[in-house]
Each structure stands twice: as C-alpha cells, then as structure tokens.
C-alpha cells in the first residue's frame, strides 16, 4: 500500500505492507538507522521518534498509521550535520549523558519533546518524563543533567 508522509520535513511516498511497523519502515526501507530497536515491546524507548510533533514508540505503531503525517527521527535534530549538533545533543556530549549510546537517540527525542512542552523542567519532571526510556549503562544521573542543560541551551537558542 502506498503512503505519503514527511520524514524530517522531506515529503516522501513509499510502498509498505500493512504489517510493517513504523520502525521497520524507517530502518529497513529508508535507512534511518539512528532509530534503534531495543526491547521491541514498547518498554525501552530506544525507538522513539516524533509523530506529528509528539514522541511515540515506533516499534508499536504501524507505518500505514503514519500516512498523511509527519515523522521526525534523531537524524532530523541536527540539520547541518555533526559540526552543528542540536543543543540537546551538545548537552548530552558535554555532560557525558551516554556510555554505550544505544538508548541515546530515544533519550534525545524524548527530551526534545519534553522541552517543547515544558521549557524549564525540574529534575523531578525530567525523571518522570523519562519513564519510557531505559538506559542500562549510566544510572540516569548524567542523562538528567544533560536534559536540564539541554533545556537551558534550547531556551537560549530561541
């Protein structure tokens, strides 16, 4: 079935089987491999993308359900490449907000969604919001620090 959607602001038209998950479309058909598959059971949040501006788990959404909508993946955060990271990516870099990096794309997409709703979140709000993102390395401490620093940088960038 033919679907039309915008990915990282670029409109595309693509043919998918209805049983294709959004994450499968992104990774396997379109090569947006920044979106990871961790648990594949909507627990871990490594597959987080934005759908119509809201964070969702792309392992638990059909690609056909995205027809007519817009999807943003982690590749869409830094429009000018590695030399010009998104303020949230820069904050994760500076605050050691990752170790192995597997969960990081999901953490970033979750954090950017949070700051879009709540530009100055408290530590408690960040920890509450990140319930849907699991990290097996860091113990979350530096991730929370990164999100708070990233939120400040995003406010300054406005």
């Amino acid at each position: 079935m033919e679907i039309n959607l915008a990915i990282n602001k670029h409109p595309i038209s693509v043919s998918v089987d209805p049983a294709t998950l959004l994450v499968e479309l992104l990774r396997e058909q379109l090569s947006f491999t920044g979106t990871h598959v961790g648990c594949d059971t909507s627990q871990c949040g490594a597959c987080l993308v934005h759908f119509n501006g809201e964070s969702v788990k792309s392992c638990t959404m059909l690609a056909v359900s995205a027809d007519g909508g817009s999807v943003m993946t982690v590749e869409g955060l830094s429009v000018a490449g590695r030399a010009n990271l998104h303020p949230m990516q820069q904050a994760f870099h500076e605050n050691h907000g990752l170790q192995c990096g597997f969960c990081t794309p999901g953490m970033l997409m979750s954090a950017v969604d949070l700051v879009g709703r709540n530009p100055d979140p408290t530590e408690t709000e960040v920890r509450g919001w990140l319930e849907g993102n699991l990290c097996r390395c860091t113990g979350y401490h530096n991730i929370v620090k990164s999100v708070i620093a990233g939120a400040a940088a995003m406010r300054d960038a406005k």
Partner: protein, 275 residues
C-alpha cells in the same frame, strides 16, 4: 507479524459497517495492546480497522452534569483536558499515570476499556464512576459491561464509541504499580456520585470488581479512618511473582484509604476553585 487488510474509515458508521462485513477483523485504537499481541503471534486478524481518522471519536465535552469522552481520546488528551481536570480531577490524574508519556500519546480510553485487561486502570474508574459505555448499537451500564478477564459485554461487530461519566461529588484513584510494566498490582478508584459510594478494584483479581464491604463503610462515613476495621478477603485474588493474595488484599485496603484521602483533597480544591 502476519499481513492483513488495512482499513481506515473516517466515520463511526463506516467503521461499524466495515466491522460487520469483515468476520476476522480487529479494531485498532491506539494499538498499545493489539500491536504487541500481534507481534507475538497471539492475534492474527485478517483485517485491521484503524479508528484514528474518525475525528468525532476524540472529542471530550461536558453535557448535563456528565463528561462525555470519545473512545479515541488518548490518555494524554484526558490527562491534559481542562474539562476533565475541572469536573473529575481524579480521572485526569489516573490518565496521567498510565504507562509512560509515549504510551499516553497513543493509548486510548476506548481501547483500554474494550480490552478489559485485569490490571488496566480505566476499568476501575468507569465502574466506580457508574459510567455508561456507549457503543455503535446501544448504551451499556458499566456494571454490566465488564464480564471477566479480557471479556466484556461487547457483541461481535460492536464498537465502543465513548463514555458518559456523571460528575461525582468526590473521586480519586490510588495505584500501587509494577515499576516495570507500570500496570496496577492493585489500583482502587473511589467515587461518591449522587450520594452513593462506589469502590472499584483493578489488578487484584481476574477482572475489575466492586469492593462492597469497603463501599458500605464509606457510605456511613467518607473518611479513611472508616476503613480501619474493614478487611479484604484474599480468597479469589491474584497470587503471582509481584504479590501474593494476602499482600494484595492488604494493598486493596491501603490503596482504598489513600484514594479516600485524595478524593477529599480533590473535592476541597474543587470547592476552593469554585468560590
């Protein structure tokens, strides 16, 4: 996942027609239960009827003393709705505690209630608030809707379209959740509507149920201390790695006391707001 025909109607009538035409179809609301079930091969429908384009099913309104919530209102929509926060704050708080933010961006009240997971949060609210379930064919009182584990009064081809929830004098939910799944190990929703107290328990047994002894005590005096001499019979309650039945029976009473305290507090705030 086995392939299927994907159907996306734009009206409730079209959805109902499609559901009658396709014998082996499943309704897709938010997909938070259906898609994992299909991925595990536990369901393999020949057709999926996606309700996400039926805009009318997402509306939340206040009519004649009741909140009217469309089946496709997402947990996020219910939690963030000023109407729900104003009229039944305990329901908005319940919706904001389901799963995690990304689950709340997809999961819907209609999907949760129609699925009737024994540990889901919404069935406790629908039952305790004495809501009416509206379907494509009829209206069903909450007390007659929840039958047993994953079983409801829905007939083949019938779709939940929304809920009519009379605004209570007081209501609140208290949940002891599994930190991994965020489902209720025990959740208790307490409500007083038109002078009548109803207490519904989720997570503790094979299906949501009303705790009649707890209701009777609270009917006499709506206060956490009114429950000091009430206990819950553990026989028939769930026993698993998360909690054995005695522990769950005790949790029901603890959550009931917390819910009563929260309901009194919610009502107090409502009164202040109204002045």
């Amino acid at each position: 996942m086995k392939s299927f025909a994907y159907l996306k109607p734009e009206t409730t009538v079209a959805a109902a027609d499609l559901f009658s035409e396709h014998n082996d179809a499943k309704i897709l609301a938010g997909g938070m239960t259906l898609l994992p079930t299909m991925k595990q091969g536990l369901a393999a429908p020949a057709a999926i009827i996606d309700l996400s384009a039926v805009a009318a099913l997402r509306e939340i309104a206040f009519e004649e003393g009741a909140l009217v919530i469309g089946a496709m209102a997402r947990h996020y929509d219910v939690a963030a709705s000023v109407l729900v926060q104003t009229h039944i704050p305990g329901l908005a708080l319940l919706a904001g505690q389901i799963g995690d933010p990304q689950v709340r961006h997809r999961g819907t009240i209609g999907g949760s209630v129609a699925n009737n997971d024994p540990a889901a949060d919404y069935p406790a609210a629908i039952l305790a608030l004495d809501a009416t379930v509206v379907t494509t064919r009829r209206t069903v009182a909450a007390a007659a809707f929840f039958v047993d584990m994953f079983e409801t009064a829905l007939e083949p081809g019938e779709i939940v379209t929304g809920f009519r929830i009379p605004v209570p004098e007081m209501a609140a939910y208290a949940k002891f959740r599994s930190p991994a799944s965020r489902y209720a190990i025990v959740g208790v929703f307490v409500a007083q509507t038109a002078g009548k107290v109803r207490v519904a328990v989720t997570g503790a047994a094979s299906s949501v149920f009303r705790a009649l002894d707890v209701e009777a005590a609270l009917q006499e005096r709506f206060d956490p201390d009114a429950l000091n001499r009430v206990s819950m019979d553990p026989s028939g309650l769930n026993s698993d790695i998360h909690a054995d039945r005695d522990y769950r029976a005790n949790l029901v009473m603890v959550m009931a006391r917390r819910a009563v305290s929260a309901a009194l507090q919610n009502a107090g705030q409502g009164a202040t707001k109204g002045q």
